[in-house]
Amino acid sequence: MDIYLPIANLSVNALVIVLLGGGVGLLSGMLGVGGGFLTTPLLIVYGIPPTVAAASAASQVTGASVSGVFAHFRRDGVDTKMGGVLVAGGLLGSLAGGQVFRLLQATGQIDTVIAIIYVLLLGFIGSMMGREAIGAIRVSRGAVPPRARKRRHHPLVAALPFRTRFYRSGLYISPLAPLLLGFFVGILTILLGVGGGFILVPAMLYLLGMTTQVVVGTSLFQTLFVTAMATMVHATTTKAVDIVLAALLLLGSVAGAQVGARFAAKAKPEYLRLALAIIVLSLAVWIAIGLGWRPAEIYSVEAS
């Protein structure tokens, strides 16, 4: 079933896009990530122009995070104060990201920069998550659990001024720390079209030292607002949001996410985390190989 995308200016097979969204949604529901880091590269492989892919993938992540945020609110799993500070940082970051995006586009290095950021981030996070998951699996198979790490924030975070209390997170820290974190993730959201949950969650746990119960809910809260903002930034600057493409992706991904969430309820979380780590690491290796391999296209054309 072919359908014409009015902004991307090409026709695609609607079923392929819905299935692509569904597959990403399945993973996102199972593993609790937005899935933007998979959608954007997959769309580009399918032939969608990179800018349109990044701009439209952000709205898919918005859709994927909505139902999660509501679910966490019902369980009182969102620290709205912490979330608010993260969102504020994220909004500033997405505006700054828009400028960086334009600058990199003008010099023609946007694709290379995106690929390098992907390799570094995915490689780092994948190996961290993999190590942690393997440790957890060992414990579940009867190994002696290591002494629980004391929950505390990074010394750099403790050094920042204007401390305030974040009750739900169980923290007494400067709001500058989550603001900076939100800012950084906001830039990445614009550049990569990702929600940033896969960076935010480990950073909240290991840098800020937040209570585990509110980490995922608060991260989704931030993702919801910042991806919505990213859609707005792209709609007004690059004008590359393809609403038909976004709707097709959403259709697949929200359905897939619900199915994935059911799977997740039955599966063991440490195996799911290991699976995510393997996916993330193989994606990093794939992109790294792509950087060094002679590309299929030496020449590229863009409107000027």
């Binding site: 072919d2 014409y4 909505v66 709609a235 007004t236 609403i243 038909v244 590229s300």
Partner: protein, 254 residues
């Protein structure tokens, strides 16, 4: 007023006395892009009118060349280069002020055997004769390299097409050719030019315009994205929130 027209037309009428004239047409003057658009087959056809209605008696063959061109675009072509033996990055670049977004040429015989290189360059007949007009001056070999890269890229995307032998001529007077317009073309004014070639010379040229535009919902979406960017963005956000929320509500029922 009428006399004025006759004065204007007079040279044409005289020309018609000695040279053949082309009467071309296209199957579609307007191509509307709707949601199910996957490209269009454009039929270019017409008749060759010889002076006095007599076919030439010598044994030199008559050939027809048709060219369909899309609106020209200002584009930037980048070339990747291996940096430090490690990764491939965009390095050299060349800007073109007016490269055709779409170019299809069909002819009754291979174009190189019909006209010499100079004539092909004048009429821009053939992918190796396109006047791409680089905006920045560059060395010849670099220009050639980029032009070759650009044409190769566009050709594989189906946007630059060469179809030798695709024009059929019936009884020396009627011709027809089919040119496929892919879904990836930009919208705008296309031109279909028909050339009558005999004995290494272009004897007649005729042009028809074809308008390709988005219509209905596609037109509405593209226009809203351009003119009401803020509202368009808000609709996209509301749509994604509604989808996510809706799915959550439905899933909780089961």
């Amino acid at each position: 007023m009428k006399a004025w027209w006759i004065v204007l037309l007079a040279p044409l009428l005289i020309a018609a006395e000695s040279k053949p004239v082309l009467v071309p047409d296209v199957s579609q003057r307007n191509i509307e892009i709707v949601y199910s658009f996957t490209g269009a087959d454009l039929l270019l056809f017409g008749a060759i009118l010889y002076p006095g209605g007599r076919l030439p008696q010598d044994d030199k063959p008559t050939d027809i060349v048709v060219v369909v061109k899309g609106p020209t675009q200002s584009i930037l072509v980048r070339e990747k280069e291996k940096l430090g033996g490690l990764i491939w990055v965009n390095a050299a670049r060349l800007r073109y002020r007016s490269a055709p977004s779409f170019y299809a040429i069909a002819s009754s015989r291979p174009i190189a055997s019909l006209l010499d290189e100079r004539t092909r360059a004048i009429y821009e007949l053939g992918l190796d004769s396109l006047q791409l007009s680089p905006a920045t001056s560059a060395l010849d070999d670099r220009q050639d390299r980029f032009a070759h890269g650009l044409v190769d890229l566009k050709r594989r995307a189906g946007l630059y097409v060469e179809k030798p032998g695709a024009v059929e001529i019936t009884d020396g007077v009627l011709y027809r050719a089919v040119v496929t317009i892919p879904a990836r073309v930009p919208v705008g004014r296309f031109t279909a030019e028909t050339f009558l070639v005999r004995d290494g010379h272009v004897l007649a040229v005729a042009t028809r315009d074809i308008e390709i535009r988005k219509s209905g919902f596609e037109r509405f979406v593209a226009r809203s994205a351009e003119r009401n960017a803020v509202l368009y963005g808000l609709v996209a956000v509301v749509l994604s929130v509604a989808f996510g929320w809706g799915a959550g509500l439905i899933a909780r029922r089961f």
